[in-house]
Each structure stands twice: as structure tokens, then as C-alpha cells.
């Protein structure tokens, strides 16, 4: 895995997308299982107006974190940041594609903070979450 440098990152550069299948089993491992819980109780989810249990929105932050760690490396694990807004639910059985485009580079403490516009889309092309993530490169 090569770590990018300021010289190798350009504004408008697309990050390699991630594709994530999200079966109920993964949601159970992430969120736990209990009754009257929108992440694991199908009847409860239906009562709240959803056709299936919801994946925790936090799972999308983990996917963005993975994409950023693969892109900037250690400068995301220590010094990284992300900010996301969850705009549509992600349901058990969905497949998300996680994407990012570099939108800014700015100096910070002798290094460079690379800011990436990030978003998640489901299998129907519907955007489920949007935001920014950033990490430090040399």
C-alpha cells in the first residue's frame, strides 16, 4: 500500500470506491440483537415505516474511514476527521458504494490536510449519506 504525498494528490482526484454488501448478519454483529430495536427487529422496523431493519448509520462512517485509511494511511488513523449527514436509511440487504473526490489541500502543522468530499449510494443509485473526510499527508 503506497501512502500518497502532497505531490501525488490532486484536486478532483477520485478515490477508489468501496462496495459493501450489508446483510442482516453484519448489522447484528455491528449493533447487537434485541427486541424492539430498529436494527434487528423486523416487525419493529416495519412499525416505524421501514420494509426491513436499518443498518446503523455509523456503519457508513466506518466505510468512509476504511476508504480514507486506504487513501491517506496513518494520517487518517491519527489526525483524520470526518463529518457526515445521513439523508436516507440503509436497509438490511442493501449494497452501498462509497465514493470520494479530493476537493481541497491546506497546510497544517508542517503537513498537508487533504479534504475529500465523500458520499454513499445504494444499489438504486440513491445517495444515503454525504459529508467530508480529511487526513494528513507529508
Amino acid at each position: 500500500m503506497s501512502t500518497p504525498t502532497t505531490a501525488s494528490v490532486g484536486i478532483g482526484q477520485e478515490l477508489p470506491p468501496l462496495v459493501k454488501n450489508i446483510p442482516q448478519r453484519k448489522i447484528d454483529a455491528y449493533s447487537g440483537v434485541r427486541p424492539n430495536y430498529i436494527h434487528s427487529d423486523e416487525a419493529f422496523a416495519r412499525k416505524k415505516g421501514f420494509r426491513a431493519p436499518l443498518a446503523q448509520a455509523m456503519m457508513s462512517t466506518a466505510y468512509v474511514s476504511e476508504m480514507m485509511t486506504r487513501f491517506v494511511g496513518a494520517g487518517f488513523v491519527k489526525g483524520g476527521a470526518l463529518s457526515m449527514t445521513f439523508i436516507k436509511p440503509v436497509l438490511a440487504g442493501d449494497r452501498l458504494t462509497v465514493r470520494g473526490v479530493v476537493k481541497e489541500q491546506r497546510p497544517e502543522g508542517g503537513r498537508t490536510r487533504v479534504v475529500v468530499e465523500v458520499w454513499c449510494e445504494n444499489q438504486d443509485g440513491v445517495t444515503t449519506a454525504v459529508g467530508t473526510a480529511s487526513g494528513l499527508v507529508d
Binding site: L54, A57, M59, A62, E66, T69
Partner: protein
């Protein structure tokens, strides 16, 4: 003893503070998380640039997100926004604790929301992660 009243928008106070229990970061917890999010980066099990394995940066997000459960029974809700700053790597063997403070509550389109700022620290008080999240509350 904690009494766990039902969390309601009316009962929730801006300025209210929460503290989680401590959570021991074990290799098994890291492995479970890696399975759940399908992210098997070698740094989680082998050496990393930080010396030894580290955990996924978002591993402890749910400790923060569930702070309100330390005092209330929660009917559930939807997570609207999340902000993280990853200050120091999370490592297996750490005992981590999150502290949060409700910094805002508001109603939008008839739905109640709460905003919490948090820090997650190791046993020495070193900040590992800090951030802020917005949650919508179900009314029943």
C-alpha cells in the same frame, strides 16, 4: 443505582452530561468489528506504523453514541449527523471511556433532535477520539 427513566425530549436537558463504563479493547472486539464492516486491514492484526496493531478508528463510535443509555431507557431514534476527529490511535489493551454533554436540542418538522459533544479517552486520560453527533428521538 441508576433508575433509567424513559428519555423524552421534555426531560432531556441541554448541558446534561453522560459518562460511559470503561471498555477493554480486545483483539476479539477488533476482529468482530472487522467482520461487521468487512474491513480486514492488516494494521488491525499485524504491525502498523504506530508500533503494534491498532483498531479501526470508528471502533468506539457506539460507546459515544449510546451514552444516553447510561441514564435513560431510549425508545430509539435515527442518527442524523456524525463528526469524528481521530486524535490518537486506538490500540488493543486500552480501557476506553466516553464522556458526553448535550449541547443542543431542537424540533424540526415536528421531530425532536438532540446534539451531543463527546470525547473518548484511554485510562490515562489521553483523548483518542472526539466529536459531535445529532440524534432524532422517536416519541414512543
Amino acid at each position: 443505582m441508576v433508575e433509567f427513566p424513559r428519555l423524552t425530549y421534555e426531560r432531556l436537558q441541554v448541558g446534561e452530561e453522560f459518562v460511559s463504563d470503561t471498555f477493554l479493547v480486545t483483539p476479539e472486539e477488533i476482529e468482530t468489528y472487522a467482520f461487521a464492516v468487512d474491513d480486514h486491514h492488516p494494521w488491525f492484526v499485524d504491525d502498523s506504523p504506530f508500533g503494534g496493531p491498532v483498531a479501526h478508528p470508528t471502533l468506539l463510535g457506539n460507546q459515544a453514541l449510546r451514552l444516553r443509555h447510561s441514564r435513560y431507557t431510549v425508545a430509539g431514534g435515527l442518527h442524523a449527523k456524525m463528526e469524528f476527529e481521530f486524535v490518537e490511535p486506538i490500540r488493543p489493551g486500552m480501557r476506553a471511556r466516553s464522556r458526553g454533554r448535550v449541547v443542543d436540542k431542537y424540533e424540526r418538522r415536528g421531530k425532536p433532535y438532540m446534539v451531543t459533544e463527546f470525547t473518548t479517552e484511554d485510562e490515562a486520560g489521553t483523548v483518542l477520539v472526539r466529536g459531535r453527533f445529532t440524534q432524532m428521538l422517536f416519541r414512543d
